[in-house]
Subunit: 144 residues, 2 copies
DNA sequence: TTATGTGCAAAGACTTTGCTCCTCA
DNA sequence: TGAGGAGCAAAGTCTTTGCACATAA
């Protein structure tokens, strides 16, 4: 793949891409940095940033979203969508074939050339919802 | 609206919200800052940030996306969607009633409580596409 | 009057960049 | 051997925060 792009194959690039495609957590640059350090202890964070930026340029990876000021990446190129929890910052994948087969509105087909077509939902996941309710409850009870 | 939330009505808040709902450009904090300064020359950027954050908390405004490292805001709460051009960073609205009436997949309905349901497309708009082609052409011709 | 909000300045956090040495091809 | 990449450190941006003064209610 590097050879296709006529650039050097380095252990850093191999490992960063490996971590990216194996991760299901939509990791941030720092997450990837920590994972990669397990195999390449001397790698630096800026190499991770530079490599992620290259992978994105080559279309092997993309920024899913920016959550809590951190960019989150996804190397899964198959059609899927994301729900983001604003409490725990988890990003969950889901499939939605009905969406994928929907015809795009004319405003979009005439707009330009699309790179990425996805839906994105934002909310609070049920786990965090439950935690919040408990919190409210305990505040109320302690306030009595 | 401020009174509903039991907070003070200040000229800064009024003006920031006014700019936000009137703008169709999905402005960044800095864009809003510049617009508001026309009427309130002494306003500071951190007041804009603080107010935008409040408006978001009250559900009167939301972050559409982060483009070019800047958060972009939208106070239009009616159902609509966005296409983002990665070249000129413009965000264009479009309507898509077919999407809006589509049933959500079970993975999402069971996931938690949604705040925001929208689709988001990323690509290069036709204007920038045309510019790029011209650029490539002129490079080629000058290289001859 | 008093709880809140604003301005100012400085700090924080993530990300990018210049430069030198190293390394893949 | 030579072009391109990695590491290091420092700089750049956007955004947040502490504090004193101002202000809406």
């Amino acid at each position: 793949m590097c050879r296709e792009h006529r650039i050097k194959v380095t252990p850093q690039r191999l490992e960063i891409y490996k971590v990216a495609i194996q991760s299901k957590e939509h990791p941030s640059a720092e997450d990837i940095y920590h994972s990669v350090r397990a195999k390449l202890p001397t790698i630096s964070l800026d190499t991770v940033y530079r490599t992620l930026s290259s992978l994105e340029r080559w279309g092997l990876l993309f920024k899913v979203a920016v959550v809590d000021d951190r960019s989150r990446f996804d190397a899964d190129l198959s059609p899927h969508h994301h729900v983001i929890c604003t409490e725990c910052n988890n990003i969950t994948d889901f499939l939605w074939p009905e969406f994928d087969s929907l015809a795009l509105p004319e405003d979009v087909t005439g707009w330009g050339s699309l790179k990425l077509k996805a839906s994105q939902f934002v909310g609070v996941c049920s786990k965090c919802d439950a935690k919040n309710k408990n919190k409210v409850f305990s505040i109320r009870s302690s306030a009595q």
